[in-house]
């Protein structure tokens, strides 16, 4: 492992059991997270990004999930640890921020108690020290009257406030890695910006590595250092954020950018990616998984067993189809062909 690499994932497969077969939702992902870095994982719903997150922190249903491969952290393979061993790491060295702050807090417990819980098991602080740590945390996440909020129940707080509380829970034991699973998706736009600023600010203080899972390219541009784009359980492109935004290569990445609504666009149609993400059971297990959604690109353009190629230092692209890729509209002009004959 390199010096500042905190977490290294090698060829991770996470499968869910449907009837008696396991279907891999994460299919051979390798990644690394460095200290003081925000790694964004981007992709459509169902591409396996949340599954990747829950695999790292071990929050999956052990009866229905199979995790294979290596997740190396602190010289341990997290994928092979027992639930009890994972408990010593979860919330302490690795923690998680969840998507929906409205349902992620226990409605019957006071805010202070919920933040304190992790401290009880991972630190040797006594009750009064824990109480003051809770207030300190609340202050750190930008809550103005921590004493009062600590005594309140979740339903008495707004969505943004609750997300701050979730963040306070996540950073309570000063973790080295924070996994943020769509932390801003459920919030309105003004609050989103505040929460993102808070994340950046906290990262600067703690030097933690953050894995930010999102489908929002705007969020990625704002906060990420490095981006991994996932499609159908695989990483199809990985690069530093500037490189990826300036120079997207993979057809899927380019299609994602292309489908962002443009203010100054002449067209009144939105660009879409043809087709749908294949469901878990119907996932093509060989060949380029994106090929079915770009049928106008000839089959020879794809690799038989698409691998990640380093096309420039630190920029990886899966498959070779990007070299031949062009948008359908490049030829047809005007609107997307899907709508052209209507």
């Amino acid at each position: 492992m390199k010096g500042n690499e905190l977490l290294k994932i090698n060829n991770l497969h996470t499968g869910f059991r449907i009837k008696d077969t396991f279907y891999d939702a994460v299919d051979g992902v390798s990644l690394s997270v460095k200290k003081n870095e925000i790694l964004a994982i981007v992709g459509e719903s169902g591409c396996g990004k949340s599954t990747l997150a829950t695999s790292i922190i071990g929050l999956y249903d052990h009866n229905k999930t199979r995790v294979q491969g290596e997740i190396v952290f602190d010289n341990k393979n997290l994928a092979a640890l027992s639930e009890e061993e994972m408990n010593d790491i979860r919330g302490f060295q690795i923690s998680m921020i969840f998507q929906d702050p409205l349902s992620a807090l226990n409605p019957l417990m006071r805010i202070g108690e919920q933040i304190e819980e992790g401290l009880i098991y991972h630190t040797k602080l006594d009750k009064s020290k824990r109480d003051s740590r809770v207030l300190e945390l609340l202050q750190q996440v930008g809550i103005r009257n921590p004493e009062r909020v600590a005594r309140q129940f979740p339903h008495q707080l707004s969505g943004g406030m609750r997300q701050r509380v979730i963040i306070a829970i996540a950073i309570a034991c000063k973790p080295q890695i924070i996994i943020a699973d769509e932390p801003t998706t459920a919030l309105d736009v003004t609050i989103q910006a505040q929460i993102l600023d808070l994340l950046i600010e906290l990262q600067a203080e703690t030097e933690a590595g953050i894995i930010l899972i999102t489908h929002d390219l705007g969020v990625v541009a704002e906060v990420a250092d490095r981006v991994a784009v996932m499609y159908a359980g695989q990483i199809i492109e990985e690069a530093a954020v500037e490189e990826l935004f300036a120079n997207p290569k993979h057809p899927y990445t380019r299609s994602l950018f292309n489908s962002i609504p443009q203010m100054n666009s002449q067209s009144d149609r939105l660009n879409v990616i043809e087709g749908i993400v294949p469901s878990l059971m119907n996932l093509p297990r060989s060949g380029c998984r994106f090929s079915s959604r770009i049928p106008w690109i000839p089959g020879e353009a794809h690799e038989e067993n698409p691998a990640l190629h380093e096309i420039s230092p630190g920029h990886f692209v899966r498959c070779t189809c990007w070299k031949e890729f062009h948008f359908k509209t490049d030829k047809g002009g005007g609107t997307h062909e899907l709508y052209a004959n209507k």
Partner: protein
């Protein structure tokens, strides 16, 4: 909160008034009267007519009703035709018997149902869970009188562990410790019968609540803190799953005060259920109306009690 409680009590007055009219009229519409079957057929019909007239039973129902409600407001619920005793005294004595029986029943009921429900929910689909579910369906399918009779035969008659009828042995003097122990001894078997049969609802409810709660986001948050699984269960899953059970508590308590007709009849226990049935068959109007009024009041009280319990256990609910 006190304001609300007082207001809820005030709302009960018109509700109880409507109930009293309905029940009074319905009782009067029952065929027969208190004298049917009680007086020997040889009695002169003129004598019976005279008695009926004297009891005011020939007056139109609204006159009878006014007389009854007027007296009731002065605390006089009339005289029981069958027992020749003041209704209030009669009911008071029975109510106390039923109260103790109910209290012990509820206690045993929750003592059995809550642990079983929790185990079934926590170890969902395990052999333990399947056994508990089987138990709950079997007890649900057994009629009260069957289990009551089995218990009575086994523990009362064969093994002679428990008395087979009554509420207290007459040889003990009221007020002594022995007397109270004997009362407790008498209600053990009937309460146990009631409790065993009543567990199904709570077990099933609790089980499904726990299975639901396990998938909640806040449980995932709790797990992400790295706290032991038993703490996740005790502090997050169980607490939330017990809410609906707490909501039922008020109704359960007041519902039981109505007495269990089967249990009380089988165990020969002088309680409200038994009194209610016998008063209907003997057309003991004053007892019937007083009892139904009391049951009505208890139902209303039960819903208020449930609301109060909910507002205590669930911070999201505040009675304003």
């Amino acid at each position: 909160m006190w304001k609300t409680i007082v207001r809820r009590f005030l709302i009960m007055i018109p509700q109880l008034f409507v109930l009293s009219v309905i029940i009074f009229v319905l009782a009067k519409f029952m065929p027969g009267d208190p004298f049917t079957g009680l007086i020997s057929p040889q009695t002169d019909p003129a004598r019976i007519a005279e008695l009926t007239e004297k009891a005011g039973l020939n007056d139109p129902w609204h006159i009878q009703y006014m007389r009854w409600i007027g007296n009731a407001f002065q605390g006089d619920l009339g005289l029981s035709y069958t027992y020749k005793r003041d209704v209030a005294d009669l009911i008071g004595e029975r109510a106390l018997n039923t109260f103790w029986l109910s209290l012990l029943s509820v206690f045993i009921l929750y003592l059995i149902a809550i642990p079983l429900g929790i185990l079934a929910g926590r170890y969902q689909n395990s052999r333990l869970d399947k056994t508990i579910v089987l138990y709950s369906f079997v007890t649900y399918a057994i009629p009260t009188f069957v289990l009551g009779l089995i218990f009575l035969f086994l523990f009362g008659y064969k093994l002679e562990w428990f008395p087979t009828s009554g509420s207290v042995d007459i040889k003990y003097e009221a007020g002594t410790l022995r007397y109270y122990w004997d009362k407790f001894y008498h209600i053990l078997l009937p309460s146990f019968t009631y409790a065993v049969l009543g567990t199904t609802g709570i077990i099933q409810y609790l089980r499904s609540e726990i299975i639901d709660a396990k998938t909640m986001d806040y449980v995932r948050t709790a797990r992400s803190k790295g706290i032991p699984m038993r703490k996740v269960y005790s502090k997050h899953i169980f607490r939330n799953s017990l809410l609906p059970i707490a909501a039922f508590l008020g109704f359960t308590i007041t519902g039981l005060l109505g007495g269990s007709i089967f249990v009380e009849t089988i165990f020969g226990y002088p309680g409200m259920g038994q009194l209610f049935v016998s008063s209907i068959s003997s057309r003991d109007y004053s007892v019937i109306t007083a009892l139904v009024m009391l049951f009505g009041f208890l139902a209303l009280l039960g819903s208020l009690l449930s609301d109060i319990i909910m507002s205590i256990v669930d911070p999201r609910i505040r009675i304003e």
